[in-house]
Symmetry: C2
Subunit: 341 residues, 2 copies
DNA sequence: CTGAAAGCGCTTACAG
DNA sequence: CTGAAAGCGCTTACAG
């Protein structure tokens, strides 16, 4: 390629030692103002950029972090705009601190050898579970790590989670407040300790608080995707219970659901009220626009990098556990039970 | 951190030289079967992973590529699921070839010094223009590179583009075939040589072919986003021309448009037909579902990595220019002019 | 078939 | 204030 100029070349041209060049680059040691200027000028002229590999070899820090997201199926990342939002946040946070981010998909049998191989400074792992082997391996390596949406029980771990329980509660309360009593929950897979699990707990709490008994028949565990939502419509349409509202635990499943209901002759919100979760970009433009529980995914990503960098730099950060708040955004897809046709 | 084991440790334990260990790792030189077994066993036991930095320092290849995507605003990546789709494709393609991918946002004044710094094997650059300074810099460095959606005139450059002109043509023909004659184009920014520009050329060609004169009044250059589409609805609603159909050059703008029309009392498709472009994940679940020009973004990303890796490995690849095909997907948002109410 | 040695491009005590 | 030298963990001729 281009015959790269090295610190040696700079030293030769400037008539100083490489140690001195190194010192001006890193602003270490004592160097005279004159030398500093001379060397810097030559660095400019030669467009010299220090080699990350060589530095890494000495320093053991790569200024590289990886964001590790789970694969949907073998070898392909999840088809969910949610991850993009997250990754955007991470890129943004990392950029301001001069570390670069490697994007990596993993399945359960990942051995995380890339961490050693590249001497990664840290890891952001999204959506693991307590029983996952990933967790074990990462802990063994002792590499700085922040877990996202993972709800791990060990208090030593750095984690950022959403206030999922509150979200489940808020959404359900909203529906109850509108006079709905038979409220289905389109939960997605309900793994104990998973994101959906906590949203479900919030749903239950709201119900209980209002003296509405929960009914297992109203819990639909369809896969939390647009297709899952679409299929759930069938079950809801044919339910014996007189469901008047549905709480979908993701916006994408709400979207699929609404279309599914439409296809079997049920309209939102006139026949059923629907509330989603996430507040992805399209919700406010849907017809009807979607009432939802809002979370700030971008800031979730940013928070995660910041925690990671604090950890890497040994900055004392007292909090290992951050919970991102949620809020209710009311739009057109939910109406009072009394206005139902 | 963890006291990493090096090739030296392996050599010591195995009672051989580091050269020999290196040879078994890389399957180079001549090593006896016995030694190979012995060394490999120890490598396993010690969970030895060679240091990428050390290797890179010798070999000058980092097994690292970067995908460079433009920022929306200062420091934050574009809020468009399209990029996630692309990046997914890249990750997938890279994974199979043991290179890892760094995700990087850039603005116009990026100096690309990270390429030298990290000794990147290659670059995938999305959405540049011919006049961009990025292009200049990348060419100067002589680093292997593939441009996506960039339409650069130099024939030496490796490029992957969509058949945008055909897309514009196909969509317009569809509308004309349905009997529409006054067809607005919601183009997004029309930079010459840009993606939207070619879609627009296709639109013009279809019009001309059918003897319909084009009318500049029907071209709306609103920003190609959901908000842009929403705002465009105003212009269309208040147009003097009796517009019966709109070709939105992106699905997201079509989504915003449909909602915007709805808010001023116009329904799709009864009052106006609307066709989009891209076929993003939600289109078929919209109410009405969206007729659109489909492109396979995932395979676009995969194609790009493959071209890049061929280039890096010096594999003879005759084609420097790949054009991804488009197709028309007819759904509910477009109906015959005659059925208009 | 195996090993000693140089060198990739840096940083970091240490001496002066 | 400046420089000589060792060393980070590998690879690669070269000798044997």
């Amino acid at each position: 390629m281009n015959n790269k100029v090295s610190i040696k070349d700079i030293a030769r041209i400037a008539n100083v030692s490489v140690a001195t060049v190194s010192n001006v680059i890193n602003q270490t040691g004592r160097v005279s103002a004159n030398t500093i200027n001379k060397v810097n000028k030559i660095i400019q002229e030669q467009q010299f950029v220090p080699s990350a590999s060589a530095r890494n070899l000495k320093n053991k820090n790569s200024h590289l972090i990886a964001v590790v997201v789970p694969f949907l199926e073998k070898g392909i990342l999840q088809d969910n705009p949610f991850y993009w939002e997250l990754v955007r946040g991470v890129e943004n946070g990392a950029r301001n601190h001069e570390v670069q981010v490697i994007l990596l998909g993993t399945n359960e049998d990942e051995d995380f050898s890339f961490v050693k191989q590249r001497d990664l400074d840290g890891l952001i792992v999204v959506g693991t579970f307590g029983h996952s082997s990933a967790l074990q391996k990462v802990m063994e390596m002792g590499v700085p790590c922040v877990f996202l949406d993972s709800y791990l029980s060990s208090p030593d771990l750095y984690q950022v989670n959403l206030d999922d329980e509150a979200g489940g509660y808020l959404g359900t309360k909203h529906l109850i407040g509108l006079g709905h009593k038979t409220i289905a929950a389109l939960t997605g897979k309900l793994e104990e300790g998973g994101v959906n699990y906590f949203r479900y707990q919030g749903y239950l709490r709201a119900l209980q608080e209002c003296g509405i008994s929960s009914d297992p028949e109203l819990v639909i565990e369809e896969f939390s995707s647009i297709q899952g939502g679409y299929q759930a419509a069938q079950k809801i349409g044919s339910s014996k219970s007189r469901i008047s509202a549905v709480f979908a635990f993701s916006d994408v499943s709400a979207m699929g659901l609404i279309r599914g209901l439409h296809d079997i002759g049920l309209s939102v919100p006139t026949d059923l009220s629907v509330i989603g979760f996430d507040d992805i970009f399209y919700t406010q433009f849907m017809i009807p626009s979607l009432t939802t529980i809002r979370q700030d995914v971008l800031s979730k990503g940013q928070t995660a990098v910041n925690m990671l960098l604090d950890q890497i730099n040994g900055t004392v950060s007292s909090t290992r556990n951050v919970t991102i708040p949620v809020s209710l955004t009311v739009r057109q897809s939910t109406i009072p039970y009394s206005k139902k046709v």
